[in-house]
C-alpha cells in the first residue's frame, strides 16, 4: 500500500522529469530536471533496499556529475542556443525508432512475464542487510579486479578531461 504510493510517486516523478529533460529548450532547466530524475531514481533504489546505492547515486551523480554538467553549461553558455532549432530535422525518425524499440521490448517483457517470479517469492529485504558491508565485501573480494580496472578507468578519464579542457597556451 504505502510501498505502492512511494513507487508511483517516485516513478512518476522520474518519468515526468525525464521527459522534461529531453524536451526543455533551456539546457539549465534540462539539467535541473535531470537532477530531479536522478533523485527520484535514488528514491527507487531506497525502496529497493539499496541504501548504499541510494547515497552513492546522490553523492556521485547529483553531487558530482551534475555539478560538473551545470558548471560546463555555464562555461559554454550560449544565448543563441535558445533561439536555435532544438530538435534535428529528422526528429520523427528517432521517435519512430524509439517507439518501435519500446514496442518490441514491451512485447519481450510481456511474453516473458510468466518467467518473472512475483514479489511474494522475493527473499526478505533482510538478505540485503547490512547493505554497505555486503557491497563493500563483494567489491573487495569477488569484484576486486573490475574494481581496480574501474579505478584505472577513472584515472585515465581524469587525465583525458584535463588534457581536453586545458587551454592551449
Amino acid at each position: 500500500m504505502l510501498d505502492r504510493i512511494v513507487f508511483d510517486l517516485f516513478a512518476g516523478l522520474a518519468i515526468l522529469s525525464a521527459i522534461l529533460v529531453v524536451t526543455r529548450r533551456n539546457v539549465i532547466h534540462s539539467a535541473i530536471f535531470l537532477i530531479t530524475a536522478l533523485l527520484a531514481t535514488a528514491g527507487i533504489f531506497l525502496q529497493l533496499h539499496a541504501e548504499f546505492l541510494f547515497i552513492v547515486q546522490i553523492i556521485l551523480y547529483v553531487g558530482g556529475i551534475m555539478v560538473l554538467f551545470v558548471f560546463v553549461i555555464m562555461l559554454v553558455n550560449l544565448d543563441v542556443a535558445l533561439h536555435q532549432m532544438q530538435f534535428r530535422r529528422q526528429w520523427w525518425v528517432g521517435l519512430l525508432l524509439a517507439i518501435a524499440l519500446g514496442a518490441e521490448a514491451t512485447a519481450a517483457i510481456y511474453i516473458g512475464r510468466l518467467g518473472l517470479p512475483g514479489p511474494e517469492t522475493a527473499p526478505p529485504a533482510s538478505v540485503l542487510e547490512p547493505n554497505t558491508e555486503l557491497v563493500g565485501h563483494a567489491l573487495f573480494t569477488g569484484y576486486m579486479l573490475p574494481f581496480e580496472i574501474a579505478s584505472v578507468l577513472l584515472l585515465v578519464a581524469m587525465i583525458g578531461a584535463v588534457v581536453m579542457a586545458k587551454r592551449r597556451t
Partner: protein, 100 residues
Amino acid sequence: MIGTGHYLFLSLALFLIGVVGVVTRRNVIIILMSIELILNAVNINLVAFSRLVGSVEGHVFAIFIITDAAAEAAVGLGIIIAFFRNRETVLADEMDLLKW
C-alpha cells in the same frame, strides 16, 4: 504490491526517453544528459533484479556503471569545452568532421 515488472517498465520508459533524447536533440550537452538517463534505467534494472534474486551483485554492477558514467561525463564535457573553444558551438550536427 509492486513486482519486478513495474521496475522493468519504469526503466524501459526512462531508457526510451533517453534514446529519444540522444537521437533527436541537437545540443551535445543534452545528448550527454540523455545518456545519463539511459544509464540510470540500466541501474534500475540491475537493482530490481538483485532485489529479486536477493544478492548485492546488481548493486556492484550499478556502482561500476556509475563510475563509468562519471568517467564518460568528465571526458565528454572536456571534449565539449575544447570543441566549443574552437568552433563556438555545441550543436551535434555541426560536429560532422567525422565524415572525412
